[in-house]
């Protein structure tokens, strides 16, 4: 399974990467960690004429709190998130998610931005980004574009990024100390693509849930927030009963569930309920 031929270009800066993309249009793809792209190329399902390697761009991997945002450089490797070095609930959540991404050697190379741009339905970072309403910052020769997570994911493996845009940075809200965040996923084997995963973030004030973000990934073509679950949680106390209700609401409301060899829509629906519940429980116990 050798890939088709391609021209290889190294970009020394994001501007240079954007220029290459502008020059070659949909004939060019960005090479970041390669852990998702190269297998697809080896199967010859993707045959880009040009590969633009962005790995040498300086200052492209970072985790920086900037006001009320956490700015993440697109080239930040998954392994970095296992010890992100930032405080607060997000700092505690990120390692718990990173741990579930594939296996260690994949995490050594795979990148945060790469995962988002690839948009596999079971991508943990995509689910996180959608749940917390991340902002994706794309760069092209015409400048910068900020894309809201709600607009970013079009369908499986398809995003709002234009052919001449490269994802440079992602902003997550730097959740304050009243937030509790949790994560859960189900797969057949350790390190497999998740069949269903959930990110749960709730803000507590005087024992009541005042904000809720419940995200589900792996279940549908793109990750989504569960309005039904969030509605069920708002104003309530963080009890098992309420969590079960919210999880049930999430499962009942979700549509267009995926069916594949590993699980059908019915099983995924059950798993949505279980994963949302677990993510909520994880939020209050470890989050």
């Amino acid at each position: 399974m050798k890939p088709a031929s391609f021209e290889y270009v190294t970009a020394e800066s994001w501007d240079a990467a954007a220029a290459s993309l502008a020059e070659h249009g949909d004939d060019a793809l960005i090479l970041a960690g390669g852990q998702s792209l190269v297998p697809v190329m080896n199967f010859r399902l993707a045959q880009p004429a040009v590969l633009v390697d962005v790995n040498v761009i300086p200052d492209s991997a970072y985790l920086q709190i900037d006001g009320d945002s956490l700015r993440i450089g697109a080239l930040t490797r998954h392994v970095r998130f296992e010890a992100p070095g930032i405080d607060g609930p997000l700092g505690r959540l990120l390692p718990r998610i990173a741990h579930h991404i594939a296996h260690l050697p994949i995490r050594m190379r795979g990148t945060f931005g790469g995962s988002l741009a690839h948009a596999d339905p079971a991508s943990e970072w995509c689910t996180l980004a959608r749940t917390l309403d991340a902002v994706m910052i794309a760069q092209s020769v015409t400048g910068e574009r900020r894309i809201a997570a709600a607009d970013f994911f079009h369908s499986a493996l398809a995003t709002d990024l234009a052919d001449d845009e490269v994802l440079r940075e992602v902003e997550l809200p730097a959740l304050g100390p009243d937030w509790r965040c949790g994560f859960a996923e189900f797969n057949r084997r350790a390190g497999d693509f998740a069949i269903v995963q959930s990110v749960a973030a709730i803000e507590l004030h005087e024992g009541q849930i005042v904000s809720a973000r419940i995200g589900v990934g792996g279940a549908t073509e793109t990750p989504q927030r569960s309005g039904a679950a969030e509605k069920a949680l708002l104003g309530g106390a963080p009890t098992s009963e309420l969590f079960a209700e919210a999880a049930g609401a999430a499962a009942d409301a979700i549509e267009d569930l995926l069916t594949d060899q590993q699980a059908n829509a019915d099983l995924r629906r059950d798993l949505v309920r279980v994963m949302v519940l677990r993510a909520l429980e994880d939020a209050v116990s470890a989050g």
């Binding site: 390669g34 296996h103 050697p105």
Partner: protein, 160 residues
């Protein structure tokens, strides 16, 4: 075709590659280092695991051009003029290999674990070694071999 240099255990291999040639194919064909194996070419089995700048990497998912100038370590460099290093000796004593096809990848992954110098408990060890597939041994003896080396160097994770 591009001319690149692969630095493997301080030996510079001057090779001519196409951009699409994988690191593992280039090590095997261009540098004559056939110890790293190809099992799937889609990053799942880990038979191609090598160390690039001291990190375990799937050699089938990296293009050789990306490794130009980097420090690469493969299974061929583990022994000391024929004498087994600690991991190789442990694999030998614990019967941690049968057909040997997954072995180089397992050894390089284990090398990283040992070199990291951190305590590793059994669960974490199992989780990390789960990165690589083996069809012959059923994993038990591989875990025992790596555990033996970790324990000998004080990384038994008892306090972890």
């Amino acid at each position: 075709m591009t001319r690149i240099q692969l630095n493997v255990y301080e030996t510079i291999h001057d090779v001519e590659v196409e951009p699409r040639h994988s690191l593992v194919d280039t090590l095997r064909e261009g540098c004559g280092l056939t110890g790293s194996h190809i099992g799937c070419e889609h990053g799942v089995c880990g038979a191609c695991t090598v160390l690039v700048d001291d990190q375990p990497v799937r050699g089938c998912l990296m293009f050789a051009v990306q490794a130009d100038g980097k420090d690469i370590r493969t299974v061929e460099g583990l022994d000391d003029d024929g004498a087994f290093n600690a991991l190789q000796q442990a694999f030998h004593e614990h019967h941690a290999l049968q057909c040997g096809f997954c072995t180089p990848g397992m050894l390089m992954l284990a090398t990283w674990i040992v070199e990291r110098g951190l305590p590793v408990d059994d669960n974490e060890l199992r989780e990390i070694m789960a990165s690589n597939l083996c069809r012959c041994t059923g994993y038990r003896n591989i875990l025992r071999a790596v555990r033996a080396v970790l324990d000998a160097s004080g990384q038994d994770g008892a306090g972890a």
